[in-house]
Amino acid sequence: MTEQPTAVQLAIFNARMESVTRRMANTLLRTGRSGVINTARDFSCSLVTARGELLSVSEGFPIHILRGADLMAQCMASFHPILKRGDAFLHNSPYHGNSHAADHTIIVPVVDDAGVHRFTVLAKAHLADCGNALPTTYMGTARDVYAEGAPIFPATKIQENYQHVMDIVRLCQMRIRVPEQWWGDYLAPLGAARVAEREILKLGAEYGWDRFHALERAWFDYSEARMIAAIRKLPAGTAVAENMHDPFPGTPAEGVRIKAVVSVDPEAARIIVDLRDNPDNMPCGLNLTEGTATSGALCGVFDSIGPGVPANAGSYRRIDVRLREGCIVGIPRHPTSCSVATTNLADRRVNAVQRAFGTLGAGVGMADASGSSLPPSCGVVSGFDPRADGAAFINVVILGAGGGPGTPVTDGWLTIACMGNVACPFMTAWSSMNCIAR
């Protein structure tokens, strides 16, 4: 029998979880070999309960983490019913919870001394290259996953008993450009996940697992209560907002119109974001994945409700994101290409959701974020360096770009680094933007 945690115990528990994700992010940043990891921070770290619920996330792109870590952890547990300490899994499958094929996620199940799976930790990093047919991680014109070319790993075991599964390592070395760089960028998220595993095992030993799980439950309940309080302050109603993506090979000549229907019921303290009335999957790389479709909708919600609501499975109990299978901003059917699932339509859809909120009443929501999703200051550069005997190089360059949205009380931010969704660059900037808005 464990006592109900006090507010102070809960705050300490949350701070300790956040310190684990910070250590993970620090590991990724400091050990990554390519600039997209060690400078641009295109990565995310998440902690998920053994039941597959998102508990805590590091500062990072909301499109990476609001939803997806939970789906991938659930996928790992269903594909590998027997999880052992020392296992690690490589996951980049857009059809099983991941964002897009260029984001390689290392998943480590945290298994206690008795062999019980207690927790799951995930570290995801955008690779400089993922083995696409062309040297880019954004295959916008690919008609399907076969044309993309990247090998897909749906929670594939890559470590057993803390030893690399060399069959998978060799496969990656043969299929991903600049293999020595890939190797370092594989070790970076692996280290991040192993650092978290060490910390969670220590915390489990200190708290005792029953107490640890009781704290998880209490943190979810607290987060739900904060979400209820936030929704009660919103105006009631249903609003619709649309947003256009420019025409692109594989889309209709007029482009892609994205529609979001947002319903707020303050009395029941519920929000529904309905994205089902949107076009079917298209033969190009713009299709969203279940992870990015849901994350973007949640992002629009969190942009609109104000600060102070932790983003986790507890606060999500009050948000119902409705997606349709085979929809361009829904759940893609294999072999639909989702190569560019984290930016273009993801941005358009975040805009539509937060602008729908904006029409519900004064002081709520945000404007459209202008600016392109992938401006010329972001891109993949590759080639052969004549200064280094023609050695191959490839990297994703992410430089700042303008385009933050206006809020009810501020103008749009012109200097925001917009990569990873114009509306919500990083968790910190995102929270401070909300703070300003309130």
Binding site: T27, L29, R30, T31, S34, E180, R194, V195
Partner: protein, 174 residues
């Protein structure tokens, strides 16, 4: 040799500003990374660093170990870049670190009292004490003065000076 030069500079510091220290130590370290990384880690070096084959092998092993301790992975086949060599000299002024620092007024001040306003209580007579003369526990309302700071004790607190030179305040709240 740069390390010899660093040692000479440390020794000069110890003999100059550090003269008369209770004890002096010089420690060497190097900041290094795997080729391709953008951030370095600090790896301690032995007391008298050498660069023969055996010593270099030990240093390489120490780098992999440190990387593993910090980041839970190492890459034994990778090339290591050793970038910044440094030396740190420490001169301990006081061998016994439990001795309180001598934060004293030039002349010890007499205990007195002063009228002070405390929120929720109004104007109260507060005892005013010199930090360095504080021996018995002091009950609020009170003011503890020292050359570097002033500590105000509300009525529901009491304070006692600690052996290390601090002030331990107890909140006597319900």
């Amino acid at each position: 040799v740069p390390l010899a030069e660093l040692r000479a500079r440390c020794e000069a510091f110890a003999a100059g500003p550090g003269a008369g220290s209770a004890c002096t130590s010089i420690r060497f370290s190097v900041e290094a990374r795997y080729l391709g990384q953008a951030w370095d880690i600090k790896v301690p070096l032995p007391e008298n660093p050498r660069f023969d084959a055996e010593a270099v092998e030990a240093l390489v092993a120490r780098f992999h170990e440190t990387h593993d301790e910090l980041f839970a992975v190492s890459d034994p086949a990778a090339v290591i870049e050793f970038l910044t060599w440094s030396a740190r000299v420490e001169c301990l002024i006081n061998a016994d670190d439990t001795v309180a620092p001598a934060f004293r007024f030039d002349e010890e001040r007499e205990p007195t009292e002063r009228l002070a306003y405390f929120s929720g209580h109004g104007w109260l007579k507060a005892a005013v004490r010199d930090f360095s003369s504080l021996r018995a526990p002091l009950a609020g309302p009170a003011i503890v003065e020292s050359p570097f700071t002033t500590v105000v004790l509300p009525p529901d607190c009491s304070a006692v000076s600690s052996p290390a030179g601090g002030l331990v305040i107890k909140l006597n709240r319900a």
